[in-house]
Symmetry: C2
Subunit: 196 residues, 2 copies
DNA sequence: CGACTTTTTCCTGTTACGGTAAATAACGAG
DNA sequence: CTCGTTATTTACCGTAACAGGAAAAAGTCG
């Protein structure tokens, strides 16, 4: 279980509904962990079955009733035990890197387009991180432990996006510098192969 | 399919057996993609069923016979089509970051130990990247397209490891600076709770 | 009325991850 | 000769994760 622990970690901040969690996994923690609402709800059921969280139904008027989940003491303990185990370094698993590994067997034009899209994407994310950093930590220091963690995360995220964006730029430049000697072959295999 | 494409990408370099692929996924491409030998073999079967690769049995004396897999033209085409689609930016999914997100609800001592282990781990990897870079690209330039891709990958890897290592150092420093005001609670829940 | 938001749930797949284990075939240690 | 090791492939099991399609219920907005 890993997504489950991420949810528990989110619930340490405050009780939340599945709906809120899904939104959280779209912003704050979602910067480095992706999960759609179905995954969240399924995981919440499991966590409830194990007694790590407790759902309290809140009757609403004008909206469907919601289930606010709170960490139980067992859940807190489970999270602490999980956090006390050594972490496993995750591997990147980025499609783009696989493409680069097979650079001489693929078409460069789509790759170039992809790199440009990614460049924009990572620049956007970088700007977003910086924006949040300036807003939440104008003087660059954190007060409590909770803030410290988030400050560190934001800084790591910002640097990471910056680095990947730089990488995309560099790759594009290298590709351009090489495009002279490269044979440009359009992607139309299987149509006129064998018979020329 | 993503692991399958990574395997196809590996096979563009030269034909390989499942055993060799498993080793490759432990070193070169394995720097950013992890897969054990069972995953590899299972994926190879699928790729063969789809006609993307072709196995040729090589009789060996002294060792069991091996199956050398070669990309078929269909496999090359499939790889090119896959590579022509826009890549999906992967999310990090690092346990360590989840822990930092819940920093005020976990025990700092194990976290500190974890950070130190990770620091060493990322430093090792960084040194490894640099070593390969110096060996394969002493002058920092690539000749062919194949080399270009690998040079870029190695550089990205080196920078990434450097950055994460720096991050670990920074986090450790921040934790130390904060440890004065923090209440240290040993992880022994559930034993003496409820009855003092 | 229809479209949209909020909130939860169910369904069916595929892909990935993890561990345990075995079969074949040789080599070397004890 | 048995035991362990390296090389090489394969099998089975279970769970976790990812993807997409759907629907229900209750209200608001246009």
């Amino acid at each position: 279980m890993a997504l489950g622990d991420a949810i528990l970690a989110c619930l340490t901040e405050r009780p939340m509904t599945g709906y809120e969690l899904a939104k959280t996994f779209d912003s704050s923690i979602g910067f480095f962990w992706k999960a759609d609402h179905q995954q969240i709800y399924r995981e919440l059921s499991k966590l409830r079955d194990r007694g790590y969280i407790q759902g309290r139904e809140v009757v609403q008027s004008g909206k469907p009733n919601k289930l606010v989940y709170t960490l139980t003491p067992e859940g807190r303990t489970a999270l602490r035990h999980w956090a006390a185990r050594p972490s496993t370094p995750a591997s990147t698993k980025d499609d783009l890197l696989v493409r680069l590994h097979a650079l001489d067997s693929i078409d460069i034009e789509p790759l170039r387009a992809d790199l440009m899209a990614r460049l924009e994407h990572h620049r956007d994310r970088h700007a977003n991180y910086e924006r949040i950093l300036k807003k939440r930590f104008p003087d660059g220091t954190a007060e409590g432990k909770l803030d410290l963690g988030n400050l560190l995360l934001l800084r790591l995220g910002a640097r990471h996006e910056q680095m990947v964006a730089d990488f995309c730029e560099e790759a594009l430049a290298a590709l351009s510098a090489m495009s002279g000697k490269a044979t440009v072959v359009p992607i139309e295999d299987g149509k006129r192969e064998g018979k020329g």
